[in-house]
Symmetry: C2
């Protein structure tokens, strides 16, 4: 019988399948990465598939090897991310791989987690397993951009969402903005929230819009709803205070008056920051395991967030309306640019339509 020959070509084929499997964990694996795995027997037949479905649950390799059982003997494990070698909430995957009798491991991307970071691969190699590395690395890095970004910067990946008219308005001079975008776009926003770990607004948006900020049940677990407020001037009644619907956190700076902190509703989480700034907030949210956060704030906070590199992706819902209105209700306030050369020039844009609206998805 022919032995499976691991070429770049067939490695890529199976790695693509592993990437597909990994994507099934979208929205539920945070703070962990998305990981998918395939097991081939020694002849190259597929005998196991697995993906990481939820933090705390078994890793992709475990499921795939379980499915393969004794057929893994002398076979190949294809896995999008380097297998872990540390005892976390689950046992090290390297142990399991060694026990399984797998002869060869194909790894897409090295795990940037300092507890792994090449060590997993070393352990396998030292045990005599053949390791092939860096297969479809770019694709896997893109799939895990939120996890990688948090590991590299200590802050979650930030998405800024914006519903604007063709003439760049987010509301009328009287503050009205319901609804600039279509029903279909609003559903897309709920979907977007469902894959985010937290949704952030400022005190102004809370006072003006009293938003609900949930995925309307699309998420297995609703994202954490966060209010960043320096003044702690928050209304007594607000939809966000109903924590039966979803968790709510109020973040404030060191100057916040204790009397106001005490007034915050029971059950709402309180977070004192070193500074009432987006960067500080994101550091704390990363510690809480957030990989991806959604900014749904007004222009002032959006401007600071962008300036502080707290926005990696923009999602603009552009509605075919003209609003006008001199007292600016535009997505951003002043960046202090003096020439067009200084402005943010965006390169990576994808365009789609939802209802009557255009959706621009932009990497900053």
């Amino acid at each position: 019988m022919k032995r499976f020959n691991c070429t770049i070509q067939n490695c890529s084929f199976w790695m693509r399948r592993a990437i597909q499997l990994a994507s099934l964990g979208e929205g539920t694996v945070s703070p962990n990465p998305l990981v998918g795995a395939v097991v081939l027997d020694k002849h190259g037949n597929i005998v196991g598939e697995g993906f990481h479905s939820r933090a705390g649950e078994s890793h992709a390799e475990v499921g795939a090897l379980k499915q393969a059982q004794h057929k893994a003997q002398g076979g190949t494990l294809i896995v999008t991310l380097e297998p872990c070698c540390h005892q976390g909430r689950t046992a090290p995957c390297t142990d399991l791989i060694l026990k399984s009798g797998i002869a060869r491991v194909v790894v897409g991307l090295e795990d940037p987690d300092l507890r792994v970071s090449g060590k997993g691969i070393s352990i396998l190699r030292e045990a005599g397993i053949e390791v092939v590395e860096k297969i479809l690395e770019k694709e896997i890095a893109y799939q895990n951009r939120t996890f990688l970004h948090r590991n590299l910067t200590g802050r979650p990946w930030g998405i800024l969402k914006c519903a604007i008219s063709l003439d760049g308005r987010i509301g009328l001079p009287n503050g009205k903005s319901k609804w600039i975008s279509s029903k279909e776009s609003r559903l897309k926003v709920h979907k977007l929230r469902s894959i985010c770990d937290a949704v952030i607004i400022g005190g102004g948006t809370l006072r003006k819009d009293d938003p609900l900020l949930t995925s309307r049940g699309l998420a297995r677990q609703e994202p954490l709803r966060v209010v960043l407020t320096s003044s702690l001037d928050v209304p007594e009644n607000a939809q966000l205070w109903d924590i039966d619907v979803a968790r709510t956190l109020v973040a404030f700076g060191p100057q916040a008056k204790q009397s106001l902190v005490n007034k915050l509703p029971i059950g709402v989480e309180k977070l004192k920051l070193a500074e009432s700034k987006p960067k500080e907030l994101l550091k704390e949210l990363a510690k809480k395991g957030c990989n991806r956060v959604l900014w749904e704030c007004g222009p002032d906070l959006a401007t600071v967030a962008l300036n502080e590199n707290c926005v990696q992706e923009l999602v603009f819902f552009v509605s075919p309306k003209l609003l006008g209105g001199l007292p600016a209700m535009t997505p951003f306030s002043d960046f202090g640019f003096n020439s067009i050369d200084q402005t943010f020039a965006l390169e990576k844009i994808s365009l789609s339509k939802t209802g009557k609206d255009f959706v621009l998805n932009i990497l900053v």
Copy 2:
């Protein structure tokens, strides 16, 4: 030999060819409509083609019949617009058709010009010619929307051009706007100017930008450059004053001081309006034979122009940049809307790309 049988299907086929021919006159036929014609001999073979290429020159039917010569005898003339029956700068086309021996005329659209308006068709029918009407009417009406609009409203078709950033800005707080859009978009603007009869700005744009407003030689005749100014506060030196490049017209209201009017450069046309308003200006430009004008003005004039129904089409060049800036530099100023339901909702949008920019073409 089989005689040509004129069905809706083969009429449409040849009418489409006539529409193609008509489009060759784009940019040069104003104030006339675009017209194309095809002549088939009695067997249905094409024996002549023609289009109206320039005001004052021969009509489409003339060229097509000339090409066909005696082969028109007993044949079919397919023409996008009803043949004229009045003596203008050229002889009535109906006379020529009668002389040609054509047996059947297929007309796309009735000419809304009051001197024709069905009379051309009547004359042909009374002379015993079979007339088939209303073939691809909608397509032809769209092709001639500027001509039809002027005939219906007494004002040229208005296009408002705008170069904006993703966040809806047309300039920085310091007024700088060079260049928001790409080189490719600027070339498209030159092309757009080349098919317009006039390009209009306000006094503010003249003072701030000192634009040239030409098609950079793309037009056979450069569009008339128009400044609409109530104050007549215009600079002493400006590119627009060089009338060797293209004609320039300054339009002002009845309150304009004669001393300021006298100060306008020699060679620049002066136009006193009943009111210094877009609507009044367009009425006068229609009288001058303008079918299509391009608004390249600032937000205040754009807002009035839109409010006065002087804009039928928007062309937005959306550049993937973020400009920000609180002192609003947005495409429109206040329309006075109080709810989103009151805002301009646009339906007919086509989208394309030029360089890095998106181009939105919108019928208002």
